[in-house]
Symmetry: C2
Subunit: 160 residues, 2 copies
DNA sequence: GGTCGTGATGTTATCTCATAACACTCCCTC
DNA sequence: GAGGGAGTGTTATGAGATAACATCACGACC
């Protein structure tokens, strides 16, 4: 993530795209009788603008547009909601959070995480598939899976 | 893990088996010029005896045979060593640690974690074979993967 | 046997991550 | 215009992990 001798491009959405995504998310919530309130919208906005995993306390610090930080529960509650709605995901191996990049499809996500530049790709992993075999043999019923592959993205690969 | 209406069997190794496993690990370390020192051995002993994921601070509390706790760095350094040697694994989705149950084979492990009784099975996941496809398309090189499936084990399944 | 460098440990302090608890407000419904 | 449920603000604290530095054990080398 540093000291790797090359520069890392930015990744986040442009403001117009962020607004569009926020409005779409808000509309989708409305249909389900859920409320996209101000803190939820703000946290999602920060995640979308970042375009890569963000630590909870970085969200807390960036929350106020005037540079004022939020209180931790404000952000953690928003994250809980966003995760429940499938609008954001927690990356357990990083203790960080990222906006969902699926366009509202089936939600068994896996992540490719570049340890050099921090970029992540959310791939539609039926990656439970590999596990399903072992799980079935043991009589284990999978309910959700954390699948996070670390490595180097195409731009950070030494060879290229 | 509680309030589920049924009892959960114990899982850990018996003391004799623990000692055997410790001695084997110590011998293997010796061959590689690494030292299985007292704190490392003690932490591995606790993990083996538990037979399921253990929180770091539970290890810290249980460290002293006289009931005295260890200092956090003592245990965290031992865990780092054990993980490096493949003798233990961190379960990111639980922030917990578990002794390896492979018999010294290839090490791309995946875990099936019962959310009811806490039991885990370490299965020889082919390093996210499912992911390899997506990763290759993107030019992504996977170096290590966190694969943790949560659900219900055979004994905790409601139907059975 | 002495000394030197490396790796491991002991110890203190601190940092990061996350949640409990409770009062209050908003919004919808009846 | 009450009542109830979801959401928020706020304070405080719990849980997970590491930085920094002094000291100690061990093997290599002379
Ligand atoms: Zn997603
Ligand atoms: Zn990269
Ligand atoms: Zn293993
Ligand atoms: Zn179970």
């Amino acid at each position: 993530m540093d000291g790797c001798g090359h520069d890392h491009a930015q990744m986040g959405m442009k403001p117009a795209a962020v607004r569009a995504a926020l409005d779409a998310a808000e509309a989708a919530c409305g249909l389900d009788g859920e409320r996209m309130t101000a803190p939820r919208r703000r946290v999602l906005e920060l995640l979308l603008a970042a375009g890569e995993p963000v630590k909870a306390y970085d969200l807390i610090a960036a929350y106020g547009r005037d540079g004022e930080a939020a209180k931790p529960p404000t952000v953690y509650r928003a994250l809980e909601f966003l995760e429940r709605r499938g609008l954001a995901h927690r990356i357990a191996s990083l203790s960080a959070y990222v906006a969902c990049s699926h366009d509202r499809a089936e939600h068994a996500a896996a992540f490719l995480i570049c340890d050099c530049c921090g970029a992540t790709a959310e791939v539609p992993a039926g990656a439970g598939a590999q596990l399903a075999g072992s799980a079935g043999d043991l009589g284990f019923v999978i309910q959700r899976a954390t699948v996070e592959a670390h490595g180097l993205c195409a731009r950070c690969r030494p060879d290229a």
